[in-house]
């Protein structure tokens, strides 16, 4: 019984990890930037959700949509600065610029919203579905369902639309994509829009389960990196699988071994993966270019 409830909790947490990591891996895949501010996009998304749901009394799903849109537009802004000017620069410049963005946004949030955690209540929080001997809150089911829907929509977008094809081309080879006439700037903008909207979705979905704080992004960003490596950098399907694997692994560790070890497990898995299969579990072997 314990096993099943831990698995379900793992799936719920994994959904949020997957959404967060999807944006991270897409931005890396297309812009080549490791975005340390992805956690802050998730945090800001959660705050937008908080103001809509608690202050403006907007229904949960509508609030989720608005927050995704707002943060998507915010994604367009950060694509202009600092992403565009640092694209293709040295690794350390790209990383420090996004670290600067992350520090700026996190402390800006502390300044604007205060450091006190905010609680978000939704009508789904108190509704429980009983399955045999255990019960699960509607909110958790909702998190999982919305994630699945978003993933299906994203997959459809990437596989079937013209823009999706352009994105895949850019990921394979940015210069070649440019040569065949793909507007790579537009692709970058769409990627940042989607990446930050997905992070916002993760933030709004998790807000009723945990608390909304300015440092919530900092707490998950390192794990999101682990997930992205696990799935192979730039690999969309890998990020989704990685999210669920880490979410479940964390909950099983907390339930069966010790909750002290919960936060150490993802990083240990990462070091092992990097030792044994640096291209990620689902990644293809990348030949080193000379």
């Amino acid at each position: 019984m314990m096993l099943i409830s831990q698995l379900i909790n793992g799936m719920v947490l994994g959904s949020v990890y997957a959404l967060l990591s999807l944006g991270l891996t897409m931005i890396f895949g297309i812009l080549g930037i490791v975005n340390f501010a992805q956690g802050e996009l998730y945090m800001l998304g959660a705050y937008v959700g908080y103001f809509l749901i608690v202050v403006q009394k907007v229904p949960f799903l509508l609030a989720l949509l608005i927050s995704m849109l707002v943060m998507g537009v915010f994604g367009l802004l950060i694509e202009r600065f600092p992403f565009r000017p640092i694209q293709g620069k040295a690794d350390e410049s790209m990383i420090l610029a996004t670290v600067g963005l992350s520090v700026f946004l996190m402390n800006g949030a502390i300044l604007l919203f205060g450091a006190d955690p905010r609680r978000v209540e939704t009508p789904f929080s108190d509704v429980f579905v009983h399955l045999g001997t255990f019960s699960i809150s509607m909110q958790r089911i909702l998190v999982f369902t919305v994630t699945v829907v978003l993933i299906i929509l994203l997959t459809f977008f990437i596989r079937k639309t013209r823009m999706g094809k352009a994105m895949r081309a850019c990921q394979q080879d940015l210069n070649a994509a440019r040569i065949v006439g793909i507007d790579t700037k537009r692709v970058s903008m769409v990627t940042c829009f989607i990446g930050s909207a997905l992070a916002a979705a993760a933030g709004v979905l998790i807000a009723p389960l945990f608390l909304v704080t300015p440092v919530m992004g900092l707490k998950v960003i390192a794990k999101a990196f682990v997930i992205v490596i696990l799935g192979g950098l730039g690999n969309v399907a890998g990020a989704i699988m990685g999210g669920f694997i880490i979410g479940i692994a964390e909950n099983l560790t907390a339930g069966f071994i010790s909750s002290d070890l919960k936060d150490i497990i993802p990083f240990t898995i990462l070091i092992l993966i990097l030792l044994l299969r640096p291209e990620g579990i689902f990644g293809k072997q990348i030949p080193e270019k000379v």
Binding site: D91, E92, S93, I95, L101, F104, F267, L274
Partner: protein, 325 residues
Amino acid sequence: METKTGFWKPVAMGILFLFALAIPLLTKNEYYLHTLIVGGIYILLVLGLNLILGYTGLLSLGHAAFYGIGAYTSALLVMVLHVPFWIALPVAGLVAGTAGLLLGFPALRLKGAYLVICTLAFVEIVHQVMMNWESLTRGPMGIPGVPSPVGFSFGSLVVDFSQKHTYYYLVLLIVSVVILLNYFLVRSRTGRALIAIREDQIAANMIGINLTFYKLLSFYCACFLAGIAGSLYVHYIGYVSPESFTLGESVNIVVMTILGGMGTIIGPILGALGLTFLLEFMRDLADYRLVLYGAILMIIIVVFPEGAVGLIRYLREGMKNRQAT
């Protein structure tokens, strides 16, 4: 031109050193001394990271972990095993260096984003161990009451390390020795091998440079220095807790290295002192401090990716061009 710079550099360094020696005589302001001591400890951290990042071209976000390992090792040796500080100091360096090899073996086969994330994971692991191994580290409560190094006396001259100016001289001595060693290291055969790896790993390998050996060597030296810095820090502050050794601290060390201008010796030193003082002076801004820090960092990286040394070089070349026309 060559001989001129060759002559002026040691002279300038000598004058700076004399100035550093005289600072406690010039000011009785304890706060400045405190900031300088902390700045000196950062110089050790940054010179270490500079070997990995600036000379070998590998970006590590793991430095806070080794700094922390050094700090805890030293505090525990002195407080639990009653080892004298003078032995605990080098041992902290050795333990941190060994931990560096432990991370180095898996990590140094990686490049770019993979290496960054792997070292980031290492910081998280070490942080979690400090938080959760409560029987040894007391977890989040930290270890208070770490003693200052035991002093000594020559007749009437009493050396007491709980005094700020005495500790300042201790840090100054160690920093000066490290700067000298660093200077000789990067000009040696080893230093040239590291630079060759930075410039072109495959070409370096082709001319017979053992990549693994030199990368591990630079990692070991860097982590050894971080361990020494950790020991100096903990016996100065007198308290150690996991909160001092987070990813944020690693980021600070990287920022100092890059803002000063990596791959030089003077650059990271400027970066360490500059950022320490900047962050101290910005304390008055309270909540706005880190918001500004983030914004400044972002803008500087976009505008001057080569740091202060790059900026000076740029200005100097600009002046030369003007003289030529």
